[in-house]
C-alpha cells in the first residue's frame, strides 16, 4: 500500500480502548447514581 501514514494499529487500538473505557465508566456512573438515589428515597 502506498500509504503516507506508517504503522497505525497501535494507535487504532489505543483509540478504541480509551473510547470503550470512557463510555463504560460514564454509563456505569450514571447507572450507579440512579440506583443509589432510588434506593435512598
Amino acid at each position: 500500500m502506498n500509504g503516507i501514514v506508517t504503522g497505525g494499529w497501535d494507535f487504532v487500538w489505543a483509540a478504541y480502548i480509551i473510547t470503550a473505557l470512557v463510555l463504560s465508566a460514564f454509563t456505569g456512573r450514571a447507572w450507579f447514581l440512579e440506583r443509589t438515589a432510588r434506593r435512598g428515597q
Binding site: 500500500m1 503516507i4 506508517t6 494507535f11 487504532v12 483509540a15 480509551i18 470512557v22 440512579e34
Partner: protein
C-alpha cells in the same frame, strides 16, 4: 415498555450497535488509501464529535427551557447534559490526539478546531464545577443555565472553525464521495453512541431529580405546622 426500564434497554441496544460497528470498522472495512489503518479511528472519533454537538445543543435547550419556565425537570436534564458534554469533549480530545500523532506528527497543536474544542471543554468543566460547589438549588440552576447559554456560543464556532480559518483539521466530508464500507461502521457507531448517551443521561437526570426533590422539599417542622393549620 415500562418507562423505568427504557434507559437500560437503550443502553443494551447501544452496546450491541457499538460492538457490531466497531467489529465492522476494525475487521471488515478496508484501510484507507492515504492514512492506512489509522483512518479506522474515524469510526469512533466522528460519532463522538456528532454526539457531543447534539448533547451540547440539548444542554442549551434545557438551559433556555429552565430560564423561561423555571421547571426543575429542565434543571435535572441540564445537569445530566453538562456532565455528558464534559465526558464527550474529553473523549473527543483524547481520540483526536491519538489520531493527530501519526497523521500530523504531534499529539496537540493550537489549531483553530482543537483550540475551540479546548475552550468548550474548559467552559463546560467550569459549569460542572459551579454546579458542584453551589449549594443553593435556585442559584445553582439559574447560574449554570445562564453559563450554558453563554458557553454554547462556542459550538457553532467549533463547527465552522475548519471553514473560517486555515486549519490542520480536515473539513467535513461529503457523504456522496465516501465509500459504503466506511459509512456502515460510522453510522452504526453513531447510532450506538447516541442511544448510549440518551440512556445514560436519562438515568443521570433521574438521580438529579431525587436530589432536587430532597433539596426543594419544605423542612419537616414547617410541613407539620402547615398540616396542623390546614387541619
Amino acid at each position: 415498555m415500562n418507562a423505568s426500564r427504557t434507559p437500560r434497554v437503550l443502553i443494551a441496544i447501544a452496546t450491541l450497535l457499538l460492538l457490531s460497528g466497531s467489529y465492522y470498522g476494525l475487521a471488515i472495512s478496508p484501510p484507507e488509501q492515504h492514512m492506512g489503518n489509522v483512518q479506522r479511528i474515524m469510526y469512533v472519533h466522528v460519532p463522538a464529535a456528532w454526539t457531543c454537538m447534539l448533547v451540547l445543543t440539548w444542554a442549551f435547550i434545557c438551559a433556555v427551557a429552565f430560564l423561561l419556565g423555571a421547571n426543575w425537570k429542565w434543571d435535572n436534564r441540564l445537569e445530566a447534559a453538562i456532565e455528558t458534554s464534559v465526558t464527550l469533549c474529553l473523549l473527543l480530545a483524547m481520540q483526536g490526539a491519538i489520531w493527530a500523532k501519526p497523521t500530523w506528527g504531534v499529539w496537540w497543536d493550537w489549531d483553530p478546531r482543537l483550540t475551540t474544542v479546548a475552550v468548550l471543554l474548559a467552559a463546560f468543566l467550569g459549569i460542572a464545577a459551579l454546579r458542584h460547589f453551589v449549594d443553593d438549588p435556585v442559584k445553582r440552576a439559574t447560574w449554570s443555565a445562564v453559563a450554558t447559554v453563554i458557553g454554547y456560543i462556542d459550538v457553532p464556532i467549533v463547527y465552522f472553525s475548519v471553514k473560517w480559518w486555515n486549519s490542520l483539521h480536515q473539513q467535513q466530508s461529503n457523504f456522496s464521495t465516501v465509500s459504503r464500507d466506511f459509512l456502515i461502521p460510522l453510522f452504526t457507531n453513531f447510532a450506538g453512541m447516541l442511544l448510549l448517551v440518551i440512556g445514560a443521561m436519562t438515568l443521570r437526570a433521574r438521580a438529579a431529580a431525587v436530589r432536587t426533590r430532597e433539596e426543594t422539599a419544605p423542612p419537616p417542622l414547617f410541613a407539620e405546622v402547615s398540616m396542623e393549620v390546614s387541619a
